[in-house]
């Protein structure tokens, strides 16, 4: 029955260019969904880990012990990500600088702050991975689909030019199959745009949290650095006097 124009038939009978466009869009859609799911799992994990770490950090635990625990878990094969890796970078730098006696407290904190900045950048980079792909799928796939449609309609009208009797039935299948390309473009683009906006907002939230943590941790390091230097001065004064 010629009325049985199934979607599959439409796709299979489309011209090569339209089929190419459709394949591209299908690929884009599948990849973008892969990334959407992958990112949301990653973000959920990062969120959980962040809360867990913050809880431990503010529980009054000794920071060097926290650092050692992290080192142990790394040696067990766990990956340390997010806030904890920022903490580790800052703490490691701090303890290393603190061993140099001629460092004053300002330079100490500044150094560890810098290390934390670097770690934070890396974390943000990790969070934002794949988001650019979602953004480009969201913005370009409607155009790709539109290209397929325009091409398909051009094709079917060119076929019409040779027909002596121009009926709707001669162009309708071509236009229908061409419109499938636009539908697919939109189908790929809409979730990608929505996901991009949502994920970008979450990245923003994460980086704000990290920023806050860096400031808070620097405050703690400041206190420690002053205490350290004061003790060193006292000790120096005592030994000198």
């Amino acid at each position: 029955m010629e009325e049985q124009l199934s979607l599959i038939d439409l796709v299979l009978h489309a011209s090569f260019t339209v089929q190419l466009v459709m394949g591209l869009l299908l690929l884009a859609s599948m990849l973008s969904w892969y990334m959407i799911v992958q990112r949301s799992i990653y973000f959920r994990n990062a969120h959980d880990e962040m809360y867990e770490f913050e809880e431990r950090f503010w529980s009054g635990i000794d920071l060097s012990r926290l650092y050692r625990e992290g080192t142990e878990s790394i040696s067990e094969g766990h990956a340390i990500l997010g806030m904890e890796s920022i903490f580790r970078a800052g703490f490691k730098e701090f303890s290393r600088l603190a061993q140099q006696a001629d460092m004053d407290s300002e330079a100490l904190v500044e150094g560890s702050r810098r290390a934390m900045r670097v770690a934070m950048m890396r974390e943000e980079e990790r969070l934002e991975r794949h988001l650019a792909f979602l953004a480009s799928v969201g913005s370009t796939s409607p155009y790709i689909g539109l290209f397929g449609t325009v091409w398909g309609i051009m094709h079917s009208f060119r076929g019409l030019a040779n027909a002596t009797q121009a009926t709707l039935a001669t162009v309708a299948p071509g236009i229908s199959e061409a419109l499938v390309a636009t539908a697919m473009g939109l189908f790929a683009a809409i979730p990608a745009v929505l996901a991009y906006n949502r994920l970008a907002a979450r990245v923003e939230v994460f980086s704000n949290r990290y920023d806050t943590f860096v400031d808070e941790f620097s405050g703690i390091l400041y206190r420690q650095a002053y205490a350290l230097r004061a003790r060193a001065k006292k000790a120096g004064a005592a030994s000198g006097g």
Partner: protein, 268 residues
Amino acid sequence: MTASAGSIYAKPMAPRIVLRPALASVLLHALILAAVTVNWSDSSREVIRVKPAPRIINARLVDASEFQPKPKPVAKPAPKPKAAPKPAPKPAPKPAPKPKPQPKPAPKPAPKPAPAAKPKPAAPAPKPAPKPAPEQPRLSQEELAALTRADLARAVAEEGEELAAATAQEMSASYAALIQQTVINYWSRPPSARNGMETELSIQLIPTGEVVSVSIVKSSGNSAFDSSAVNAVQKAGSFPELQNLPSGEFERTFRRFRLLFRPEDLRY
């Protein structure tokens, strides 16, 4: 900084999240594809229901092809008129007689059945038709009108394929029937038309099937009736199907032929 495992510069050992998203993505697309395909075929089923017309046309098509064998008996009388130009018109209308028998069975129970219903009785009718028909050609307009021009054209085309071996006479008879149906479709009789009125037209065609001239050979006495017949032919304008006819046969039968208009199916 020592490149210990804890270094921020170490390659991220992030838990590779691959399997779940990949599965989710593939599954989602498969689901959507299935859903779309199912919906699509559902809607196309509805469309089929909405289009009963093509099927009816197909059914008529079968009827029409059953008509075509009839012309064979009709064609036999036809050759005689061909020899003399005047008798020629009769053969053309003769295909009409076949429909006549159809009205006869039909009108008795219901004088004016719906045109769509008529074609069905037509199928059995044709067999008896040739016997009474040859002597009294009648135009049962409504029944013939029910057979659309396109169907006939297709039927004729099919016939052309099937009956490649058929004689040219048979072909011309079926083309005569085609012309008759076409003209009848365009014929709107004036209210003053009565049974027994007869208008004979002489029609001249060119090989492309276009009507070149129409003239009244025998008037019915009612000018409105006469002009309605002329209008019907002029509206029909052309019979492009005749292009399929071999030119020799066209010259003999259709270059100039006569058409008889007779409202036999009226009740008054």
